[in-house]
Homo-oligomer: 438 residues x 2
């Protein structure tokens, strides 16, 4: 058997610990597959969590990142620093030193991937990032290799476990967003500052990556439309149920005649769809492609061991291609670097979608007629409508509608007109709706 | 760009046609990924179906299989002959001639894979078989590479579309097995001779392959326990619904202290599980593994284009490793040939499972007490029980029970005792039940 491959880990937090744990616990199983061992020889950590179920006896520990990225003995660097500044510097330096890099850092890839992959290409090294999307689900591998024969049409994913947990709890318990968020924080499913998750930034990082490997376009995080789940109310959750839908926070990227859609937002989807039944912190990605049709990949989107699973799978892959000539490796972004195409990204008001609309109206004859007239004047037809009797002595009724497909700016125009109607109270709530293939 | 890779296809039926179609339709997309073209230069076909949406103008057509497997120009042979005699001969001859082979032939791999992979190993060529399990779903790749860091604990799959279609229709329409089978045959979802599908042979072929790549054991089709769906009645389907379950035809392979379980049979699963919601001809495989936990892979399990998708993905993979030294390629059965372990296969009466039981009893006091006494004497505890009032003037009642986990031979002993009770009419229906992780 060949000598073990030597790995250095930058960052021994939750995921770093999980990676060491998986490598140690399944060392035999991994070597049976890879044909050689994969061992962590060095790790860089500020403070070691002694409660982790792994030993650091055989690992050289240091606080200097450069001790690892400049160490000629280390063949593969695992970057688990988080952030996009030091992580970027260390990744580029490791590449410059001819090392392969495995990373779980979605922000780094989404923001600096184009630069990093170009540098890796020049040096003939791999930068693997399976753990950056969908935690342990081998979704990068599935799209990049498993669907290599396909023209991808659409990718739709539940790719943020925090949002999915909150929306699942809101539905199961009828709770407010704020209450469930507090619970999620208590359970460790949401950060103390949850902005990145609940405002859709984390999902946007992941969607950026999925879009690139699906369509062969450069990474362009700054063009993703982002909307979080903070405005979802128990009322909307309840109406979704009544109408046979569920609200999920989705990353959606789609090939259209206008270009590529790149958007992250809460979405109504029919409750029979598999994605509608992905509960709690679990993740799943639905891919629609021309040869295979609909396919779906489901699993744990976060956590020490699931993420460690993806990182170690990357380590095995990189180990296998150490002796492969770089031109025959799977390209970083699925397509050969010279074959990437800079397709236009569709601005959000140019997308076409169906919508859920909810509005409050004074309980007067004629208001609803005005509303439907406005919609009709804007070429928007209605798929379903619910009007609720006023509760108690209230004077206003809730009206809920599902529309057929329409260009978003057209819908926005209609909403403005509706909001200016006499008898309409406050703003119109608008949530996009996707039927999905499976 | 490198010269295109030259492929010869043995068999231009549905799947062969689908493969040619995918390669032609997505030629540009495939070359953008693979870095070179992949073209079919030769094909062997008895009769060409002229209605296929692809052109054979640039393909040399022949009726002699050996024209292809002995042709030094052809680098990769795609074997789509079906059967295990000529297909085996041609595959071995192609390997002997130093060619790589891609096959969709599950029977061939399940029965002769050990021999074929050994020959391929000797010659340093690849034999790829993604299309053999789950049609276009990249399930072989997911288990073999994506989960390389994991010790796999259990694989559970809906891996026969015909059975799933029939069971879905039986539930949706309350129909008899025979009626739905006739409909499936009319729609082309079942063969004229449906034995292979409905008796579980096809699923057993696929399960054999999944078990090998999950656990690193040799292929051993002859040890799979097989039970089809022909005895499932509308009554059982109805009781499943009432109890919150669905009946699915599953391939199950599990690592236990006694060894590896390898079994194909109808199974009660809770209706909230994702597998329970896989409908019609679709396939899905649930994998439980120690690092990742539960993960699921869903898609089209058959059809020209989905299967073509898997075959072409294999062609891209093989193309990429043409210049890789064989020792660094992904091993055929996921584990290095010298690392396969011949774990014992657990005989079916030694497995542990929960069960659904249905019996008819004369509506007399005491019969049910005798039944529950027998179960209790055999250490079998009951999870749920339904007793239906006699219909019309009938004297017998249906009694339905769900048991807790028990060793199967223990349950069989109890069933024999129950069947010999006075007041019990006919046989006891027994269907295994799995709770599943996700």
């Amino acid at each position: 058997m060949l000598n073990p491959v030597k790995v250095g880990i930058l960052g021994l937090g939750t995921v770093g610990g999980g990676t060491v744990h998986v490598l140690q616990q399944n060392a035999e199983e991994i070597a049976r597959r890879a044909g050689r061992g994969i061992i962590v020889t060095h790790a860089c950590a500020k403070e070691l969590n002694k409660t982790h179920p792994y030993t650091t006896d055989d690992i050289v520990l240091t606080e200097q990142l450069t001790d690892l990225v400049n160490n000629p003995e280390i063949e593969i660097i695992v970057e688990l620093l988080g952030g996009t500044t030091i992580a970027r510097d260390m990744t580029l330096q490791a590449i410059a030193n001819g090392k392969h890099v495995v990373t779980a850092n979605k922000a780094l890839i989404a923001k600096h991937g184009n630069e990093i992959f170009a540098a890796a290409q020049d040096k003939g090294v791999m930068v693997a990032f399976e753990a950056a999307v969908g935690g342990g689900i081998p979704i990068i591998k599935a799209v990049r290799e498993g669907l290599a024969a396909n023209e991808v049409e659409m990718v739709t994913g539940i790719i943020n476990g925090t949002c999915n947990f909150i929306l699942t709890e809101m539905r199961d318990k009828g709770s407010d967003f704020a209450d469930v968020l507090a619970e999620a924080q208590r359970l460790g499913y949401a950060e103390r500052d949850p902005t990145f998750d609940i405002e859709g930034v984390d999902a946007a990082h992941k969607l950026t990556i999925l879009a690139s490997i699906a369509f062969g376009i450069p990474l362009q995080f700054d063009k993703v439309y982002m909307e979080g789940i903070t405005k979802i109310t128990p009322e909307d959750v309840q109406y979704a149920n009544e109408l046979g839908y569920r609200i999920k926070h989705l990353g959606i990227t789609k090939r259209t005649k206008k270009g590529i859609e790149l958007r992250v937002h809460p979405t109504f989807i029919p409750n029979k769809r598999l994605l509608a039944n992905v509960e709690g912190v679990m993740n799943a990605v639905l891919v629609e492609s021309d040869a295979l049709g609909a396919s779906l990949y489901y699993g744990a989107g976060a956590g020490a061991l699931p993420t460690g699973s993806a990182i170690v799978a990357d380590l095995v892959d990189v180990t296998r291609t150490l002796t492969t000539d770089p031109g025959n490796r799977v390209p970083h972004l699925a397509f050969q670097p010279n074959a990437l195409v800079d397709l236009p990204i569709v601005p959000i008001d140019e997308i076409e979608s169906s919508y859920y609309l909810r509005l409050s109206a004074l309980d007067k004859l004629g208001v609803l007629a005005h509303v439907t007239n406005i919609l009709s004047d804007n070429g928007i037809s209605i798929e379903a409508i619910i009007q609720k009797e006023p509760i108690g002595g209230a004077e206003h009724v809730s009206v809920v509608m599902l529309t057929h497909q329409v260009v978003e700016k057209q819908l926005n125009r209609a909403i403005l007109a509706i909001e200016s109607l006499e008898g309409i109270i406050g703003k119109v709530t608008r949530i996009r709706l996707e039927m999905l293939a499976s």
